[in-house]
């Protein structure tokens, strides 16, 4: 049988062996957490607590009106030390609630649970979606799109398939992999809940073949628990986990340009998101913690960690033996799409799938050369764009052509810049071009 996959793409070195065999460890409760009021795409939350208030784990401390938003919860019990603007891993300063751990009392075990139906199988989809919203669940692979919106597609878009995204195609990251091995039953139950919410739809589990233990474990448990899900092993290729690529690989359906998976009847959720949906519906737990891979070439002890939302990056790095003496770069997420950090006081957010710390010098800036038209970027682009041309149009400020050549279809996966022998920051040029073209469109209309 041919392994399902998509066209083009690249094969970066995986570096997953650093943590792929390491069981998930729980981070000791940090002294303080900083809970950003925005950890999702959409409207930022308003604080529901004030300085000096006592909060309990699981307590909702921020929320907003509107559809596209997600509330935030206290991830530890303690006292609200301050509410102010602190550095956010996605850049800039964002309003955050600083909670100091109240470890003095024995109340650390108490936890506020969500109000939820006692039997999910008898509950209505609307009721379940409400719980997902109240739990503050967002796309935990990195996108941060509120999950309850994705679970409630418009009635003119019938959904017949749900795909569990277990690709984790970014180098270094193994958090989803470990969850699939260690929390298999919970994830499968989460899938069953999602399929119930979406109505009549078949479940697929897409996993890259480099996680053979996860594939095997999923297959065993699907059979043992009599689910009708299909486990689909996928070729190890980046960006296999990009939604459009995954839908193509698993179902051979092409998401239309400018469209979403739901345009072809598909909803995709990441492993972490699915597990969070399980935890909310079954255990009544909102998103107050997540599994994160803390890794890199210079860490003494890279790990997969279950950590509370709001824990500072430096606490996590220190826990994994990072001394910061030789560190050159730290990113949130994997090295292909991750965001470089300049301040390690930033907190872990719901979308932090990994923290990668590298001691090696980045090569990109050092050896940049002119484009020699080798066409490697064209052969790599999963969206079938001409990255070098998009970069040149941006450089020459020709934004009409830039849009004609499909710049808005770019998913910024980084495959083009990865293969570029001249180390041209193609993705950066494309991002600049998208912004400029958007500005132009706005001022024109």
């Amino acid at each position: 049988m041919n392994t399902a996959t998509f066209s083009r793409g690249v094969h970066p070195h995986e570096y997953k062996e650093l943590t792929s065999h390491k069981p998930i460890e729980k981070l000791p409760a940090p002294e303080s957490v900083f809970i950003p009021l925005q950890q999702h795409i959409g409207k930022p939350c308003e604080p529901l607590v004030a300085k000096g208030d006592t909060v309990t784990t699981g307590q909702k401390i921020g929320d907003a009106e509107g559809l596209v938003t997600a509330p935030v919860h206290a991830s530890i019990s303690g006292v609200v030390k301050s509410i102010g603007h602190f550095p956010h891993p996605l850049g800039g300063r964002v309003e955050m609630i600083h909670i100091q751990n109240g470890s003095t009392g024995a109340s650390s075990d108490s936890e506020i649970l969500l109000d939820r139906p006692s039997d999910w199988e008898k509950a209505s989809p609307e009721e379940l979606i409400r719980v997902v919203r109240e739990a503050g669940i967002v796309g935990m692979g990195g996108a941060g799109f509120p999950a309850h919106v994705k679970l409630n597609p418009p009635p003119d878009k019938p959904i017949d398939a749900f795909i569990l995204n277990g690709c984790e195609c970014e180098p270094y990251l193994t958090a989803d992999h470990r969850m699939m091995v260690e929390n298999t039953d919970e994830i499968l139950l989460g899938m069953a809940i999602i399929c119930k919410i979406l109505g009549k739809c078949k479940g697929y589990i897409g996993i890259e073949k480099n996680k053979s233990d996860a594939i095997q474990r999923m297959q065993e448990r699907v059979e043992a628990l009599h689910y009708e899900f299909a486990v689909v092993p996928l070729e190890v290729k980046y960006p296999q986990g990009a939604e459009k690529m995954l839908v193509q690989s698993v179902l051979k359906r092409k998401v239309p340009a400018g469209g979403l998976p739901l345009d072809v009847g598909v909803v995709v959720h990441n492993v972490g998101t699915t597990l969070a949906i399980h935890d909310a519906i079954i255990n009544g737990k909102p998103v107050t913690q997540r599994v994160v891979t803390v890794t890199g070439d210079g860490l003494r002890d890279p790990k997969n960690i279950l950590a509370p939302v709001g824990a500072p990056f430096q606490d996590l790095l220190t826990y994994c033996g990072e001394t910061m003496s030789e560190t050159k770069q730290v990113f949130m997420g994997g090295p292909m799409m991750g965001l470089a950090q300049y301040d390690l006081s930033v907190p872990l957010v719901k979308t932090t799938s990994g923290i990668v710390s590298l001691h090696q010098e980045p090569v990109g800036a050092i050896r940049q050369m002119p484009c020699i038209q080798c066409g490697n970027c064209v052969s790599a682009c999963p969206m079938n764009l001409i990255p070098t041309r998009l970069a040149r149009y941006t450089q020459n400020q020709r934004y009409t052509e830039l849009v004609d050549w499909g710049v808005f279809n770019c998913i910024e996966c980084g495959s083009c810049a990865f293969v570029c022998p001249s180390s041209i920051p193609l993705v950066q040029w494309i991002r600049v071009g998208k912004n400029k073209a958007r500005q132009g469109q706005k001022s024109a209309s």
Binding site: S32, P256, Q329, L339, L344, G364, M369, I372, I386
Partner: protein, 336 residues
């Protein structure tokens, strides 16, 4: 490692430089290890079998022409770098390739002065005038050769016998190339001699075998797009074959087309030049077949015996247009 508060991160931190600053860059943060520079030097490596065979067949004159051309090309690049006030680019290997390729297209008896002139034109006008590496429209080596062909029509078509044929490396034992023999005397040369290169011709175009070894290396390492030699050579076989099928007495057979002249050198090392060949796959096929058509027309009906140079240069000129009009269908794009 202290927890920041709005107060401490505003004023005080400016006074003390942090011990270790983190590097900020746009993603992706991983890069392939293949650099443009390493590609260029591996092309030089891939050309070495052809250069070695040239020296084996033509002895000292070949050594002199190759060294002269490479040195002149590199020096021209260095001088222009200086004049433009930019950092030296001679270590990127691209000027060496141009010098080497130009040398391999020259007759073994060609003058040293002419060789220098050709290299200066190739780098100066063919490459640097357009803005240097990556910006030139025409293959610089072929542009240099075209200049020499126009300036020294006799010198560029005086061919000596390989030393292996004449028994010694005697200059001036002139002979005709297999294509010249065919065009002007209607005489065919044996395939075996053509394949190993035991025939008259320019330095590098004699041994198909040596060029194929280097060419295959380029294809395997993906430093050349396989579509180009396949469409170019395949096109010549098909188009040449059609003429031969209709009038076998009047036109040469496709195998002779393939093995004679500079076709194989051109198809593997010049037409595949990344800078001057198309980047979309459809454009690449059109480019190869276009070259094949021009080549066969020149060989069969033109005034010159050989058409590789002009076929490549003409299609180089069309490359930007081909790229422009062959935009691939974007993933998920609906055909309109």
């Amino acid at each position: 490692m202290s927890i920041p508060s709005p107060a401490s991160s505003k004023g005080k931190s400016k006074l003390k430089e942090p011990e270790n600053l983190l590097i900020l860059a746009s993603s992706p943060h991983l890069h392939t290890t293949t650099s443009t520079q390493s590609i260029m030097w591996q092309v030089v490596l891939a050309l070495s079998p052809a250069a070695t065979m040239a020296i084996y067949y033509f002895r000292w004159p070949a050594v002199v022409i190759i060294l002269t051309s490479v040195i002149a090309a590199v020096l021209t690049e260095a001088v222009i770098n200086r004049l433009k006030g930019e950092t030296l680019t001679i270590t990127d290997g691209s000027a060496v390739i141009t010098g080497l390729l130009l040398a391999l297209t020259l007759p073994p008896t060609f003058s040293i002065g002419g060789t220098i002139l050709g290299a200066v034109v190739a780098i100066g006008i063919g490459k640097q005038l357009f803005g240097g590496l990556g910006y030139n429209i025409f293959n610089p080596a072929l542009l240099g050769r075209a200049f020499l062909q126009a300036s020294f029509p006799i010198g560029m078509t005086t061919w000596s016998t390989p030393a292996t044929l004449a028994g010694s490396a005697v200059d001036g034992v002139s002979t005709a190339t297999p294509l010249g023999l065919y065009k002007f005397e209607h005489a065919l040369t044996g395939y075996a001699d053509l394949f190993v290169g035991n025939v008259g011709g320019s330095l590098g175009e004699t041994s198909a075998l040596a060029i194929l070894i280097g060419g295959l290396y380029l294809l395997i390492r993906r430093f050349a797009d396989w579509r180009i030699p396949v469409s170019y050579l395949g096109g010549v076989v098909i188009i040449g074959g059609i003429f031969w099928a209709f009038a076998p007495n009047q036109f040469p057979d496709p195998v002779f087309h393939l093995l004679s002249g500079g076709l194989i050198l051109g198809a593997f090392f010049m037409a595949t030049d990344m800078v001057t060949s198309p980047i979309t796959h459809l454009a690449t096929w059109i480019y190869g077949i276009g070259m094949a058509l021009i080549l066969v027309i020149i060989r069969l009906f033109g005034g010159l015996p050989e058409g590789v140079m002009y076929s490549i240069l003409l299609m180089n000129a069309v490359t930007p247009l081909l790229n422009r009009y062959t935009r691939p269908k974007i993933f998920g794009e609906v055909q309109s």
